[in-house]
C-alpha cells in the first residue's frame, strides 16, 4: 500500500525556512500568509503499514525536533 509521511519542525522550534517563505510571499502580492512552516514529505510503498510509526521514530523523522503524521493513501 501507499503511504505518505508528513514531517514538520516541532512547534516552538524556529523555522527560518518558513520565515523566509513568509517574507517572500508579500513580495509577489500574496498578503496575509502567516505561520508558514516548511517540512518534508516522504512517500513510500509498504507491505505492512503497522511498522510505519517505527520507521518514523527511527529514521524518517527526528522526534526531538520534528513532528510527523502518517497517512495511508490506499
Amino acid at each position: 500500500m501507499k503511504a505518505r509521511v508528513l514531517i514538520r519542525p516541532k512547534e516552538g522550534i524556529l523555522d527560518p525556512q518558513g520565515q523566509a517563505v513568509e517574507r517572500a510571499l508579500p513580495a509577489l502580492g500574496f498578503e496575509g500568509a502567516k505561520e508558514v512552516r516548511v517540512g518534508r514529505l516522504v512517500e513510500l510503498e509498504v507491505a505492512d503499514s503497522s511498522r510505519l510509526r517505527e520507521m518514523c521514530e527511527r529514521l524518517l523523522a527526528n522526534p526531538l525536533i520534528e513532528d510527523y503524521e502518517v497517512q495511508v493513501v490506499e
Partner: protein, 231 residues
C-alpha cells in the same frame, strides 16, 4: 596512543583531522564499512557531508557498520570526538543529547569564532588553559544546536556543556550559545567548530590543538592507571 579518524562517503575533513591528530600521536583512517576499530584509543568522526546528508544531517551515517563499533567503543568508556558533521552524526546516533538544525540565518557560514571552554574537567579539554577563549573556525549550514529546556538544565547541572560561543560570536542561533557538548560520562563529545583547522600557525590560530593534546593526556593517564593496577 592512536587516533582513528572515520571516513564516510561524503566526509571532507578527514584528512585535515588525521594530520591534526598526527601532530600529537599516531593516527589512522578508518573506513565506514569497517567493523572493528583496529585498537585505536580515540575515535574522531570528522566533518563533511556523510552519505550526502540525505534526509537530515547525520541521519544515515549512524547506520554504517563502523558506527556499531564506535558505539561499542563509547559504551566501554572509549573517547569519541565528533567535529561538525561528526557532531551531527553522534546526536543522530543517540550518543549525544540534542540535535543540530539549519542555521537561523539559513546561510552557509565560514568564519573564525571565539569559543569559551566552559568545562575543563573532561578528556577533551583538560589541557586547555584556564579562562581562555579559543579562536577556531566554523563552517557549516546546520549548526544550530537545540535541546529541549529540561534537557538543557540537566546537561548544565552535569557539566555536559563543554564549549560556548563567546558573547557576540554565536554564528548560527544555537540555544544558550552552545558550541560543544558531551554525554553524561564525558567520554563522547561533539562540537561545531573545527579544531583540526586550527593547529598550525598557517591556519592563523593553533587554539584547536589543546583538544587533541587533552585526549593524548587522557589516554596516557588511563594507560598509566591500568599499568599501575597491574603492577
Amino acid at each position: 596512543m592512536k587516533f582513528g579518524v572515520v571516513r564516510f562517503p561524503g566526509s571532507c575533513d578527514e584528512v585535515d583531522a588525521l594530520m591534526a591528530c598526527r601532530r600529537f600521536a599516531d593516527a589512522r583512517l578508518l573506513w565506514h564499512g569497517d567493523r572493528d576499530l583496529d585498537g585505536v584509543d580515540v575515535v574522531v568522526i570528522p566533518g563533511g557531508f556523510s552519505y550526502g546528508d540525505y534526509l537530515r544531517v547525520g541521519a544515515i551515517a549512524r547506520f554504517s557498520p563502523v558506527m556499531a563499533a564506535v558505539k561499542e567503543h563509547a559504551l566501554a568508556g572509549g573517547a569519541v570526538l565528533g567535529i561538525c558533521n561528526g557532531f551531527q552524526v553522534l546526536c543522530e546516533a543517540g550518543l549525544l543529547p540534542g540535535a543540530l538544525l539549519p542555521n537561523s540565518g539559513l546561510r552557509f557560514l565560514c568564519r573564525q569564532v571565539d569559543v569559551e571552554v566552559v568545562n575543563r574537567d573532561t578528556p577533551f579539554t583538560r589541557a586547555c588553559a584556564g579562562g581562555d577563549t579559543l579562536s577556531i573556525p566554523v563552517k557549516h549550514t546546520s549548526g544550530r544546536y537545540y535541546a529541549p529546556e529540561e534537557a538543557l538544565s540537566d546537561m548544565d547541572a552535569h557539566g555536559q556543556i563543554i564549549l560556548r560561543y563567546a558573547p557576540g560570536h554565536n554564528p548560527n542561533g544555537s540555544v544558550s550559545d552552545i558550541a560543544g557538548v558531551a554525554n553524561r560520562d564525558k567520554n563522547v563529545m561533539g562540537l561545531m567548530p573545527h579544531p583540526e583547522h586550527a593547529v598550525d600557525t598557517l591556519d592563523g590560530s593553533t587554539d584547536g590543538g589543546c583538544l587533541f593534546e587533552s585526549l593524548v593526556e587522557h589516554v596516557e593517564e588511563m594507560a598509566e592507571r591500568v599499568a599501575g593496577a597491574h603492577a
